[in-house]
Symmetry: C2
Subunit: 433 residues, 2 copies
């Protein structure tokens, strides 16, 4: 296949991206805790030959704003469960670099790579929220630049530990009794601002040599992390111009650091609401909207903007003059404010464009053809390499995508008909460096 190929991940969130999805008729409201459900959804994505399952995470309870499923089960364990029931699909776990030790994470992700025979990836985030900080002994969220310095050093330690077992270091020759080529297993002696790690890893080199490193978040600090270490980036882009501008900046920066500009796959989030007609898709969206909570929407908005939004009037625009918070999720806040301050937009309308107030990504509503057209338009621009798909409702919204959108993408020659390899790197076309 010579044509450039699209990459698709499933961003697997509870019952779907929409905050009303868990109440959808036929869905089990507590399915987000059920291993059979997790495996069922993963198998649908594997049937659609997706590159990977992507699990978000946040190491804190959503508190009183939580009115639906949230990232509860720990991602690496969920992915080990999914690995046991699948053969091909990649497995990407989100991990906070602020509240973990790199030795433990290097080991857990390499373990997942062994257990899945080469399908593991890790998405490094810095955790911008206070409730997470308070679970790890802190009174305040560490400042943005410091969090990212730690994340970059964290990524360096992961890479060094994954390289600490040279090729052929595990001999395991019963005849001679030689188990390890000790000279090929080397301490890393890392000493940095945040970590001192002697190494080596206590785990032989994993099937991918190194699991895939993923980064999410579009601040300048985040871009620096992505340019230096990421092989896949999960971005938020609401216009093709934005996506193009980000891609140019990221690829230039990667090149300046000596990497190939094409070494990084860029996948924006994309919320999909599918119907057999556009009207049906819009009806589905409206029906979900009826099941979602405006109260939660306001709390979510308050969280992103770091203001108390509980008293805001839903039929008025967002009060003027709210700045991008200094120490939060910069990209999300910037995108949200840009939309909120468009003329005549009420809070109710703003929340509604956000799938019930539970996400920060671009949404498309339409038929399989419309959705495939949109995907191919963005992909063909060259700005992006695919999407982190966020079906508005699971499993049905994913089934619709796999059964009706994927065949169009295949027919147009931009997406695989079957897996050509068994590792995440093979799906991404990313050699381990």
């Amino acid at each position: 296949m010579s044509q450039r190929q699209l990459h698709l991940n499933l961003n697997f969130i509870g019952a779907g991206t929409h905050s009303g999805a868990w109440r959808w008729p036929g869905n089990r409201a507590d399915a987000f805790l059920d291993p059979d459900y997790l495996v069922e959804v993963a198998k649908i994505a594997e049937r659609g030959t997706f590159d990977a399952i992507f699990l978000p995470d946040r190491p804190a309870h959503p508190d009183r704003s939580g009115t639906g499923p949230f990232p509860a089960l720990e991602p690496t364990l969920v992915l080990a469960t999914i690995a046991a029931a699948t053969r091909h699909i990649g497995l990407i776990a989100t991990v906070s670099t602020s509240y973990n030790e790199p030795y433990n994470i290097a080991r857990r992700i390499a373990t997942l790579d062994h257990l899945s025979r080469g399908r593991a990836g890790v998405n490094l985030i810095t955790s911008a929220d206070l409730p997470s900080a308070a679970n790890f002994g802190l009174d305040a969220v560490p400042e943005h630049a410091q969090r990212y310095r730690r994340a970059i050093e964290f990524a360096q330690v992961l890479q060094a530990l994954w390289e600490s077992w040279g090729e052929g270091a595990l001999i395991a020759d019963a005849q001679s009794g030689k188990f390890i080529e000790h000279d090929k297993v080397r301490p890393i002696h890392h000493e940095g601002e945040f970590f001192r790690v002697r190494g080596p890893l206590n785990l032989p080199r994993s099937p991918q040599d190194k699991p895939v490193l993923v980064q999410a978040g579009g601040s300048d600090d985040g871009l620096e992390l992505a340019a230096a270490h990421a092989e896949l980036v999960f971005t938020a882009a609401h216009t093709l111009d934005d996506a193009q501008a980000y891609a140019t900046k990221l690829r230039q920066r990667a090149q300046a650091l000596g990497r190939s500009p094409n070494a990084i796959a860029i996948l924006p989030g994309l919320v999909t609401i599918i119907g057999s007609t556009e009207a049906e898709a819009r009806e589905r969206e409206a029906a979900l909207w009826e099941l979602s909570s405006l109260e939660q929407g306001l709390k979510w908005l308050g969280g992103i903007l770091q203001v108390d939004a509980s008293g805001f009037d839903l039929d008025q625009p967002l009060p003027a003059g709210i700045p991008v918070p200094v120490n939060g999720s910069t990209t999300f806040a910037r995108n949200l404010l840009a939309k909120a301050y468009q003329p005549g937009v009420t809070l109710r309308q703003l929340l509604r464009t956000r799938g019930g107030g539970a996400n920060n990504h671009r949404a498309i509503v339409g038929t399989p053809e419309q959705i495939a057209d949109d995907i191919i338009e963005w992909f063909s621009s060259g700005a992006i390499d695919g999407f982190n798909l966020m079906p508005i409702i699971l499993p049905s919204g994913l089934e619709d995508f796999v059964d009706h959108v994927v065949p169009i993408l295949r027919h147009r020659g931009v997406f695989r008909h079957e897996y050509e390899g068994t590792t995440l790197r093979a799906h991404l076309g990313a050699p381990s460096i």
Copy 2:
């Protein structure tokens, strides 16, 4: 069934307890990294209606002393893999309290409890070795008492986080849209010597309410941790008198802390070498001995006693005057020195009684009848509640136990014929407190 029942765990170590086991004809030397092998062994233990799989751990590379499989894959992920392929057997992961945050571990173990539908347990260790310390920024192992103060506080935080979701807190009622009863989910506001954790856990109460807490290690500090928090204790006892003395001390201490003296199941380690005749068992042991490394044995001994043993003469006794190290694995060192300083014991003989120098537990060599007799004798004394079994070789040594020893134990009325419940607590007869 009214008779008091025996509890059996499989202490799952690579290719078996013996350091030569990975070289045994027919065994694959790299099987310790293979998920199919892990599942195969677990299924044999489940066929034998064992209470649980117990995975040891050490977050550091064994360095140059490693001449065989070692705890490489991270235990909680291995157990998630096993959970997906089994229905009944309990799943106990060893975790270092010195090099983890309690919020992360509370969440991972509760996640395992959800994914396995109530079969999770966690064995808290303090990690007495320098290589582990050096992977987490330290130049020295924290002193013994401090490690255990941290472990006790760690256990308190785990318990509090597991209790932070009250019964019925997860509503998940699609009809009303009520997802969480927020008043039943409470922060823990823990502030101690080592940890400050706000909570609550970001995970609804798990099937066992609280996963099972396990402790291993017999120092006074360890006993304090066990008496206060453990529901299962993995001990090392070489004589029934020792086991009796330890049990009396532990049960008295638990009672003084207001717990029932029978709330703790005591399971010493037991290495088994099985043959259809005693001579066959001894031949098997001798054949394994031929496959093991004396060099590794000396390094292992040096590690326990914190001396350089590489120059010691194997045909002489251990040099006189070596003390129990102040800051190490106290029980292991004490047991080892007691045996080493018996009159006339050479180093070669000492290492040989240790299954090739790779373990610290009592070993029995014999027929299924002899092994069953021994187990029942210890069990009937009342000092112990069962064993953490360490087959000298896997999977064949475990198959021998399940096919030939388990039927005798069942016939004599001390061991279950089938599982009566589906949770680890049910197997242990341990209500969640």
